[in-house]
């Protein structure tokens, strides 16, 4: 059951989206998020949704997967919607006792839902189309100017790599421990919050113990393979920007700017 988690999953492929330099991809996703929060008119949102759809299809990511990535944030979406619909002042459309729904509330709710959904899909597209290695590499490279102020950029990237490497291992192990405890009669599914939290203790303790042992062994194995930090380290796969990377970067950025500028001419949704 824990294996169903699809956030952060990578779908290998050879599409333009996959081949785009990961550094550019990260920056474009950031640009996308910023655009998403500046834009407030329907036409631009239409364009953004079109852009996302085109990207999903170019990258050949199954639509089902994309929709599934929204499932975990469903409560957040509902919560935002309810909050906005019921608690925003404005032109009242409907009133029943103390409950009232305003037009502005509905507009804001729609706006926020579109933003959240696009945000999640945009961010998942990054991980769907970029291997974890490329992603950490890109982050290391993008942040490398911070080395000047002694920010441990390499160490952070290494930590991310190791975390990504061990997530499946630890998930598998959690599953195993859970089955083992269930076989001994542990009840993990019923009871109140406290009872369930307590039932987790016999799962977490062995998991931590094993994680620490793994960490120690991994550190030793890394030492044996001459690991000594980022200094003087080379990479097998070097990131190189190609002309097509630049072209895509320029086009997409221009697209964002157009979307933002439309705010000036088209009336805002809210």
């Amino acid at each position: 059951m824990l294996k169903d988690i699809s956030i952060g999953q990578f779908f290998p492929g050879k599409s333009i989206v996959h081949r785009l330099d990961p550094r550019i991809k990260i920056l474009l996703v950031f640009g996308f998020i910023i655009t998403l929060f500046i834009v407030r008119n329907l036409v631009s949102f239409g364009l953004i949704i079109l852009f996302l759809t085109v990207t999903v299809f170019t990258a050949k990511i199954p639509v089902k997967t994309v929709l599934k990535s929204l499932k975990p944030i469903l409560p957040l979406i509902l919560f935002t919607a309810i909050l906005n619909i019921f608690f925003i002042d404005g032109h009242v459309l409907f009133r029943w006792g103390w409950i009232r729904i305003t037009e502005d509330g509905i507009r804001l709710a729609v706006l926020m839902i579109i933003r959240i959904v696009c945000l999640i899909i945009g961010a998942s597209l990054l991980t769907y189309t970029t291997s974890p290695i490329a992603l950490t590499d890109a982050i290391e490279r993008l942040l490398s100017p911070l080395k000047k102020i002694h920010f441990p950029v390499h160490e952070m990237a290494m930590m991310m790599t190791i975390a990504l490497r061990f997530i499946p291992t630890l998930i598998e192990e959690t599953d195993k421990i859970m089955s083992a405890q269930k076989a001994r009669g542990a009840d993990l599914e019923t009871g109140g919050l406290m009872k369930r939290a307590k039932a987790l203790v016999p799962i977490l303790i062995p998991l931590f113990v094993s994680a620490f042992r793994r960490a120690e062994e991994l550190a030793l194995a890394m030492e044996c393979r001459c690991y000594r930090g980022g200094e003087g380290r080379t990479r097998m796969k070097q990131l190189k920007l190609t002309v097509s990377d630049w072209v895509i970067a320029v086009f997409v950025t221009a697209f964002y700017i157009v979307g933002i500028l439309m705010n000036l001419w088209i009336p805002a949704l809210f």
């Binding site: 974890p132 790599t161 990504l164 194995a221 044996c224 393979r225 080379t234 097998m236 796969k237």
Partner: protein, 283 residues
Amino acid sequence: MKKLIQFKQVSFEYNHESEEEEPVAVLHDITLSIKEGDFVAVLGHNGSGKSTLAKHINAILQPTEGVVWVDGIDTSKEELVFEIRQQVGMVFQNPDNQLVATVVEEDVAFALENLGVESTEIRERVDAALQQVGMYEFREHSPHQLSGGQKQRVAIAGILAMQPKCIVLDEPTAMLDPQGRREVLKTLLSLNREKGTTVVFITHFMDEAVQANRVVVVDGGQIIADDTPKAVFSDVEQLKKVGLDVPQVTELAYELRKAGIDFPNGILSVEECVAELQKALGG
């Protein structure tokens, strides 16, 4: 042939310089030398000091007393530690806990990246190492998609990429199924025979130890036997005394001899045993 690894009267204590913890004396006066091209199996029951001994070979631990030389370098010379680790690679028991990267080929490249090798050369050496262990087709897989034996071969490739003279394996087969064990052993044997890589192989599977050309038995931090498999396994009583098994056929021969049947000593393979049995029965 040239002596690659030399232990001279080596003793070792854990927590030697620690104030809070009691020192634990583990190795006592070990003298051992391993020639280039040797395939040495190291036997001993749990806690006898095998892992501690192994960690001296690539300067993870330094002797409290005595000296260890690797390819002529004294392992206590701190500035040469990486030189030594490049010459002597180490593979551990749990294949899951020694792979660093999320992709097989990236993992194999790890050591070379640390050593600052140039990228095109890394590529060549990674491909060659993966081919040597028969994992080239899996180069783009993620480690958690592989079986235990495959992961262990990737770990071996990660060491081979450094082109070491010697590879030390600390119970690499202990967590594997029979299939995985065979794969790993086959890989090691072919490395040793074809490329002349020196192998130090810690194991508690006697059928694996039999394949070595030399067996070292460790007990209580001391070397109590060091000879060919045939000679070491001839002394069944001594092995049993230190809590070790012998290969099944050796055990059978031993029991037969004890029962008064005229049977030769140090039988290691099933074929040998069958031949001797036929002789004994036919004669």
